[in-house]
Symmetry: C2
Subunit: 270 residues, 2 copies
Amino acid sequence: MKLSFSSRLSTLRHQKQSVLCVGLDPDPDRIPTHLRPHLDLPAAVIQFCSEIISATSDLAIAYKINFAFFEALGDEGIKVMREVLGKIPDHVLTIADAKRGDIGNSASFYARSVFDDLSFDSVTVSPYMGKDSIVPFLSTEGTCAFVLARTSNPGGNDFQLLKCDDQRLFERVADQVGTWSFDTPGEGGLVVGATDIDDMTTLRERHPDMPFLIPGVGAQGGSAEDVMQAAGSGPVLVNSSRAILYASDGPDFAEKAAQAADKTRTILGS
Amino acid sequence: MKLSFSSRLSTLRHQKQSVLCVGLDPDPDRIPTHLRPHLDLPAAVIQFCSEIISATSDLAIAYKINFAFFEALGDEGIKVMREVLGKIPDHVLTIADAKRGDIGNSASFYARSVFDDLSFDSVTVSPYMGKDSIVPFLSTEGTCAFVLARTSNPGGNDFQLLKCDDQRLFERVADQVGTWSFDTPGEGGLVVGATDIDDMTTLRERHPDMPFLIPGVGAQGGSAEDVMQAAGSGPVLVNSSRAILYASDGPDFAEKAAQAADKTRTILGS
């Protein structure tokens, strides 16, 4: 039997004294320019991500791969992603940040792609289409499906805060994820933005053991201390992307990324 | 200035006396077995889709490409998709059925990929993350972003029907899409499943001019006559995937697909 995602997370957290997840969002316009004259864009993305990973993999316990930036590479996208995945040390967790959400049959194909073909440890999933769009991502032992609950972007307020019966929509989503993942081989987790600490506290009180993936620290705002207090002692990954990736746009980008990652790791504590 | 998506849709509908969209969901387990001994899977998918397109392109006014089935092909997925797109006659509309939904920055990259790189005419988008996740898909002239409103899968009832203030969630989503797309270069449309006719009628009354993409006729159930009545005279595409693609699993699959497409087109009327 494979270890659960939460168990691996917990072990890594204690070993590395870290909850840091580094988000890999390789934006062609922000990749250090010195990489480009010698390399085409796919090769520059691989080089950039490889150096970021080498410089941060003793500080981070997970890497989150943002599919948007890889799909934008066209035909080469998945191949580039696979090469980048190959640079991540085996013991570090990986998150397919793809925000999938489709009917059962299509969801099964997406799940097969992220877990079987690309061997990710976890994935982000959108809840709008309900149970049959999420359950296929809960059927692989040792993995986790992080369902969008309370997101940190401005539009996160548009629907997620709507009062539905006696709960807000994001609370209802979280409760359903808890129910649907009660007895599945994979775990259900939640994406909970760092921008509203009260909402995070509410979710953690209700779901003490559920893995939380927390974006919104760093470039998107949200204080590390408040976040860690609200996340409590349950399983948690705190993501930072741009503040680490683009700490410098010069030849020292990897060194500066490591410094930014170390600083974030320290502020977050464990 | 480019013609709007709705204008092109309207012209095609009258020319071809059809509202039919054929969904391309090439499931490796259902592709006719006689194609496989001679071809590897990516080549078989291209051959299968090409023959389906040739056999149905005078009956259909749009093709919907389901990203799940192409991404499941791994490294070759986008290349195969591009080849299949190349087989679709220029005048026929294309839908990137990718159900994207991510924060503004990532959404811009996804939008660039579907509209600029792959040259789709439209895309499906998930609303859960709100305005900044949708607006990037409304910024390309001549295109349409179909936002999930009321979906036809079983899980479509889980959140979409929740009563939020004085509306159900899917009605609220539809209203917001109307507001957000009021003055954008691209159009906002809605995905409205064929399984609840009353809900479709409600949406059409409130949004008479918005393009509707209607799945759920055929394999997923829903009567053609009721659907067309509920959709009224506004812009509409009615999708059928499996009932056409897999009308036969023998060497006559394209011929049977054409017969199934013609039957569906006729029942739907125009």
